[in-house]
């Protein structure tokens, strides 16, 4: 078989690829989706007039398509519409469908759906035959409206013709109306005549009621008089009570006078007090007394103001001060021991802080001491002996550093593990990752190089972080025993561990109170001097 011509194969392949891509794009663009058997369910409704509705006509809610007409068939005298509704639309049995013509000029209609309330059962859950939307409303098309208008105009025309005939008297309708009125009047007369006896009886009954009322009033007249007398006596008694009250008030006239006198005395005292206030104000205005000096002496006032500013600034700084507690532990793999840190971090500003740490290092610290002793035996010359001792000390060590941050970098300097040193931190990943370097213990007797520590902290929770790094990176690992002393180990070691760092407001409060107390004691001491 001959090898196919590559240029032709390439051209055919290119054409097929381009056209397939065009097909896929078009297919994707035109695929509405949501109306497959899995994505939708079918309900049905009956319309007397399905004009304008066709296969694929829209079913929409609030102008958004939620379904489409799947089938239209004639059942009896009505059109049965099978509607495919998206699964996410829960159409209820009390839902409604309204046929509407969106354009007055176009014959196409659509269905506006109201899915119904939760009171009705969900059509989706019912058997297929029972999924009927019973509430349907058929909007009229323009043609139908015109047809209706034609019928109405025909009816109006007929009505006006009838009216004309009636008024012209050709059918004696007016005469009939008058005759009806006459008959009605006669009937009314007859009704009145038949009921005149009843009216007389009603009037008689009213008269009897009036008579009874008159008799009652006559029989109980004496009782009514008694009641009137009682009311009069009560009125007289009330007058007497009021007279007694008047006498009582008149007998306490002295007490009232005393009360008035007391009030006057109080007013006098108040006036004197106001006089005193006025005098004090005048003294202050003249610069007399402490308050007067404060107000009148400008220099003293400025000093007082400056003092207040200082106090305010001090309080502000104390309030802004953050106090962070940090506890950290590292497991040294070669050393097989844990190094533990407990410290406080004072942050007067976010970019500046002080670190105070207490460190328990399993390596301890060794110092070198030189002892010079002079001995003289007999008459010989004195001999000087120099002894160098390595002293191993397991005591706790402390760090006190000052740190300043510039962007992602923080630089530290101060005492690191009881030795002068400095360090730097690089903050990454929104401060979650911190890469750090410490350099300290520059003059250890057992090593050639200072102690360098490289480590990384990763904060995985708000307060917790993990750490990994290398301690004493510049010196190779060694371990042994001091002659006759404890074991020691120095040099490079890998560690890992974790820590917790949190801001403690209670400690801060204690710090504030302590700081204020110290400040107060200092100021009072100054005052004594």
């Amino acid at each position: 078989m001959a090898k196919p011509n590559l240029s032709k194969a390439f051209a055919v392949g290119l054409l097929v690829t381009v056209c397939t891509a065009a097909f896929l794009v078009a297919f994707t663009f035109f695929r509405k989706g949501g109306y497959g058997a899995k994505d939708s369910y079918v309900v049905h409704a009956f319309f007397v007039d399905a004009t304008g509705l066709t296969w694929k006509s829209r079913v929409q809610i609030a102008g958004i398509q939620v379904g489409e007409v799947e089938r239209i068939v004639l059942e009896g005298q009505r059109a049965r519409l099978d509607l495919r509704i998206r699964n996410e639309i829960d159409f209820r049995a009390d839902g409604c469908l309204y046929k509407r013509f969106p354009s007055a000029l176009l014959p196409d209609a659509l269905l506006d759906a109201v899915p119904g309330t939760a009171a009705g059962p969900s059509l989706r859950d019912l058997p297929q035959a029972q999924r009927e939307v019973k509430c349907v409303s058929e909007g009229a098309s323009i043609a139908k409206l015109m047809e209706s208008l034609g019928k109405i105009s025909t009816d109006i025309s007929g009505l006006s013709s009838e009216l004309s005939d009636t008024l012209r008297g050709e059918r004696s309708s007016i005469k009939a109306i008058i005759e009806n009125l006459t008959r009605t009047t006669a009937n009314l007369d007859r009704l009145v005549a038949d009921n005149s006896g009843k009216l007389s009886r009603i009037l008689d009954n009213a008269e009897q009621v009036s008579g009874v009322a008159s008799e009652v009033m006559t029989a109980d007249r004496e009782r009514y008089r008694t009641i009137a007398r009682n009311v009069e006596e009560a009125s007289q008694k009330l007058n007497r009570v009021l007279g007694s009250v008047e006498q009582i008030v008149g007998s306490e006239e002295g007490s009232l006078k005393e009360a008035v006198t007391g009030a006057k005395t109080a007013l006098d005292k108040l006036n004197r007090s106001l006089d005193d206030v006025q005098k004090t104000t005048a003294m202050v205005a003249e610069g007399k007394g402490l308050a007067g000096k404060l107000l009148a002496d400008e220099r003293l006032g400025e000093r007082f103001s400056a003092t207040l500013d200082g106090v305010s600034s001090y309080v502000d700084r104390l309030v802004k001060l953050q106090l962070q507690v940090e506890i950290r532990s590292e497991w040294l793999l070669s050393q097989r021991g844990a190094k533990t840190y407990a410290g406080l971090r004072l942050l007067p500003r976010p970019d500046k802080y002080y670190i105070f740490e207490v460190v328990n290092d399993p390596r301890g610290a060794s110092t070198q001491t030189v002892e010079v002793s002079t001995t003289q035996t007999g008459g010989g010359a004195p001999q000087t002996t120099t002894t160098t001792k390595q002293v191993y000390d397991e005591r706790l060590r402390f760090s006190l550093q000052f740190a300043k941050r510039y962007g992602p970098m923080t630089f530290r300097v101060g005492v690191i593990e009881s030795s002068g040193g400095f360090g730097a931190d690089l903050h990454l990943l929104d401060d979650s990752l911190q890469l750090s370097m410490n350099l300290y213990q520059f003059s250890r007797p057992t090593t050639d190089w200072p102690r360098g520590k490289l480590f990384a902290n990763y904060r995985f929770l708000r307060y917790f972080y993990a750490t990994v790094g290398t301690d004493d990176v510049f010196n190779s690992w060694r371990s042994g025993h001091y002659p006759g002393g404890p074991s020691f180990s120095v040099g490079r070691d890998v560690f890992f561990g974790g820590g917790i760092a949190f801001t403690d407001d209670d400690l801060k409060t204690l710090f504030l109170v302590g700081g204020s107390s110290i400040g107060a004691a200092t100021s009072s001491g100054s005052g004594v001097r």
Binding site: M1, N5, C19, L105
Partner: protein
């Protein structure tokens, strides 16, 4: 009467020729190389004319549709009407007609020339079935390439319509695309592509037959070519009408 009888005779022979071609299409040896060459000739060779026709047809359709829709204040429907016209009717039919003009005539001429120069007879003498060797690759190539050319017509036609509608008729882009999406379903595109498959078979059989059955030297070849183009074109329109009548009954 004689001509009518001759026409029916010719039609019957062509049907047998078509059945023979289908029979040979499923028999070994298959010749993919020949099929590929014919795909290049029919498909790639027709790309230019199909593309040009599609682009300008789309533009003209959009302008005319805009003129009509503007009377109703429904310019947004231009995109949808053009797209559905292209997808269902114009793309398969116009593609078929232009491929007939471009490649169908070439097929008829080539086979006709081979017939009158007795090359086909020579093949038969050498026990090479000329239908399997000459006709089957052309039929397969046409059937394979027509849907792609139709899809190309769809894409470029709508592109032309889109450019004309948005930049010349200044129809807002949103309603244009949205109504296109509303009007056209994927089934419409598949409908057009299915048509193009049928058209491909019709065109391939007719043009091959007219060349295969050519007689009378160069003049016979010319007449065969002319008849191939005319009969193919008319057949396409008849088949399209029949297809529409059949599918309209389904409500689609």
């Amino acid at each position: 009467m004689q001509k009518l009888l001759a026409a029916f005779d010719d039609f019957g022979q062509m049907l047998f020729f078509g059945l023979d071609t289908l029979r040979w299409a499923v028999r070994r040896p298959f010749r993919p190389n020949l099929v590929l060459q014919q795909m290049a000739a029919i498909g790639v060779g027709s790309v230019f004319i199909v593309s040009t026709t599609a682009f300008f047809s789309g533009m003209v359709l959009a302008l005319q549709a805009n003129y009509a829709m503007r009377q109703l204040g429904a310019e947004g429907y231009v995109g949808g009407s053009v797209a559905i016209s292209l997808a269902r009717e114009l793309s398969p039919v116009l593609t078929a007609l232009f491929v007939i003009g471009r490649s169908g005539s070439a097929i008829a001429t080539e086979l006709g020339t081979m017939r009158v120069t007795e090359q086909i007879d020579a093949m038969e003498t050498m026990a090479v079935n000329p239908v399997q060797y000459l006709v089957v690759p052309r039929l397969l190539a046409a059937v394979m390439m027509f849907p792609f050319l139709t899809m190309l017509f769809n894409a470029l036609g709508y592109l032309g319509a889109y450019l004309m509608a948005t930049y010349v008729a200044e129809i807002p882009e949103g309603p244009l695309l949205e109504h296109t999406r509303t009007f056209v379903n994927p089934d419409d595109i598949l409908h057009g592509l299915l048509k193009s498959l049928i058209f491909a078979a019709v065109v391939a059989i007719i043009t091959c037959w007219r060349g295969y059955a050519a007689t009378g030297g160069a003049r016979g070849v010319g007449e065969g070519t002319t008849r191939a183009v005319v009969v193919s074109s008319i057949s396409i329109l008849l088949v399209d009408t029949a297809f529409v009548l059949l599918t309209v009954g389904s409500g689609r």
